[in-house]
């Protein structure tokens, strides 16, 4: 059973993060900015329009999701692994009334928190760059949080199975990077061959990218809410797996 004690784990992570936040934020914001400049202003000149948008307009929402995805993915893989394995922080915590599932919950929530913070900052930069034209953009940070829950849970599953940091290099290169290529961040999903397109449309990331793009352009619909619920349900499932795996990893 998960009690509100998981908030104490979140709080612990937050206290530690406040000591390092500057370096994590610079990394989190720097990457999308570089991409935006290189692909948008640089390469974008050779691409006239996608679905009636400039390439910069097309790509900005996808890059924004990428930043959110990376924030919680990094937190719940490398950082969680450090606490789990190198520092044995979690061994110390399960000597108290906090359970492994609550540790997992605190970690995923913190991953989502970092996505949320990163998302807001990148959004603020977009605003300065004049990429935001509609008030509906105020809903976008909430999507960052949902994306954070999803990738936090997935990352935690990987961490509970990992034997060393190398494992995460594979996860980032072989899972997350291809996912970005296929889910409509850099080019429309409709360009994919048919069977792949069907599979990809069931991946929550695809839906989040497309909803975010719709919100940026102020053309979102109520059906978007269904996709958000779908992503949350998917995240919950992944979280339950992660909690189970963490329990197995922590208690011998």
């Amino acid at each position: 059973m998960i009690t509100s004690r998981f908030l104490r784990v979140w709080q612990r992570n937050f206290v530690v993060w406040t000591k390092y936040y500057l370096s994590t934020l610079i990394g989190a914001i720097g990457e999308p900015l570089i991409f935006l400049w290189a692909l948008g202003y640089g390469m974008g000149r050779y691409i006239v329009h996608i679905d009636g948008m400039s390439y910069l307009e097309f790509m900005a929402p996808g890059l924004w999701i990428t930043a959110c995805m990376n924030a919680s993915s990094l937190e719940c893989t490398f950082n969680t692994f450090t606490r789990l394995s190198t520092q044995k922080t979690y061994d110390a915590i399960i000597a108290t009334p906090i359970s492994p599932a609550e540790i997992a919950a605190g970690d995923v929530l913190f991953g989502a928190t970092r996505s949320f913070i990163t998302g807001n900052l990148v959004l603020a930069i977009y605003f300065l760059f004049g990429l935001i034209h509609h008030w509906s953009a105020l809903f976008i940070p909430f999507i960052g949080f949902v994306v954070g829950l999803f990738f936090g849970s997935l990352g935690l599953c990987m961490t509970a199975l990992a034997r060393s940091y190398d494992f995460f290099t594979y996860y980032f290169i072989l899972v997350l990077t291809p996912a970005l290529m296929l889910t409509g961040v850099f080019f429309p999903v409709s360009n994919l061959p048919q069977p792949l397109r069907d599979i990809v449309s069931w991946v929550p990331l695809t839906q989040m990218v497309s909803i975010t793009r719709d919100i940026f352009l102020n053309r979102w619909q109520w059906s978007s809410v269904g996709y958000i619920i779908y992503t949350l349900a998917f995240s919950l499932l992944l979280f339950l797996v992660a909690a189970k795996l963490m329990h197995r990893r922590l208690i011998k």
Partner: protein, 321 residues
């Protein structure tokens, strides 16, 4: 309803017996490897109970079963009338844990480590503040309150882990090798603090492979080796029973052992030999000494027997990794 009644009955039973921890036929297997092979022990309330044994004896595994860090494979275990794993959370609330490895939060200061840890027990900063100050004083860590963990010495880290284990005022404190690797000053400071805590009526469960520590702190001891309990008694009685009051170490070549044993045959003693020494354990030290002086042929040392002699006699002298 029935479950509740069961727990209550057991509580009354343990209460009557005045044992706060009871274990019967406790077994732990890691895969096929049996680390703890069916041990029994009863720990009286408000005592200090020691597990003594060489590396790999299964001490840490036994402690870990007590604080629900590893699952019990079979056998029964009751802690203040509670049974793991179903009462796990309740058990953890009354236990204070000093694990073998210091798992302090390296990114946090001494003070922050305690604040964050108190929160795991549901204590807010407001509720834990006084206790933290008291513990920092008690363990002489006040000056280091804002220092990060990597800057602390081994002894300070250990004291901080001890302070951390006491934040929630636990009934039972589990100490897994509390002073291993520390210098003599640090060890003595920790022993003094533990002795004064003992007076407050808390129960201590301790593992160690230091005989002086066991003799000084423990009211009762079990001697463990290879997953089994070899002996259980008070430190004093363990010595009396297995060794006798006195030990004489004779420095001697292997070839001459037989002849000296011949000379000593009129007396009552047990003996053991290593490559360069003969150990004589006895209650008749003075008679044997007289004989040795008469023979005037050996270098020897006469001393009070210690727990270390018992330990080496029962667990053997070969190296353990």
């Amino acid at each position: 309803m029935r479950v509740y009644k069961g727990v209550k009955d057991r509580y009354q039973f343990t209460h009557k017996m005045n044992y706060i921890i009871q274990a019967q036929n406790l077994v732990k297997k890691y895969g096929h490897f049996e680390a703890v092979k069916g041990i029994d022990f009863n720990i009286p309330k408000a005592s200090c109970f020691g597990f003594l044994g060489p590396n790999g004896a299964g001490k840490t595994t036994t402690m870990s079963m007590l604080y629900c860090f590893v699952r019990v494979t079979s056998g029964s275990l009751s802690i203040a009338g509670l049974t793991p794993p179903s009462d796990e959370r309740e058990i953890k609330k009354i236990l204070g844990i000093v694990p073998q490895d210091n798992n302090l939060d390296p990114d946090l200061s001494v003070f922050e480590n305690l604040v964050v840890y108190a929160r795991y027990y549901g204590l807010s900063l407001k509720q834990s503040k006084n206790k933290i100050e008291e513990l920092l004083d008690f363990f002489e860590l006040g000056e280091k309150r804002n220092v990060r963990i990597p800057q602390l010495s081994g002894g300070m880290k250990r004291r901080l882990v001890l302070a951390r284990a006491l934040l929630h005022d636990p009934k039972i404190i589990i100490l897994d090798e509390p002073t291993t690797g520390l210098d003599p000053q640090a060890r003595h400071l920790i022993w003094e603090r533990l002795e004064s805590l003992k007076k407050t009526g808390k129960t201590f469960v301790l593992t160690t492979h230091y005989m002086d520590e066991a003799e000084r702190l423990c009211d009762e001891l079990v001697l463990m080796d290879q997953g089994k309990i070899l002996e259980q008694n008070t430190p004093h009685k363990l010595i009396e029973k297995h060794i006798g009051k006195e030990t004489i170490e004779i420095i001697i070549d292997n070839q001459k052992v037989d002849s000296i044993l011949d000379h000593l045959s009129p007396f009552k003693f047990t003996w053991e030999k290593t490559s360069a020494r003969l150990f004589i354990y006895t209650h008749e030290g003075h008679k044997i000494l007289e004989k040795l002086i008469q023979l005037n042929n050996f270098e020897f040392l006469h001393r009070r027997s210690s727990l270390e002699d018992v330990f080496l006699k029962l667990t053997g002298r070969e190296l353990r990794e």
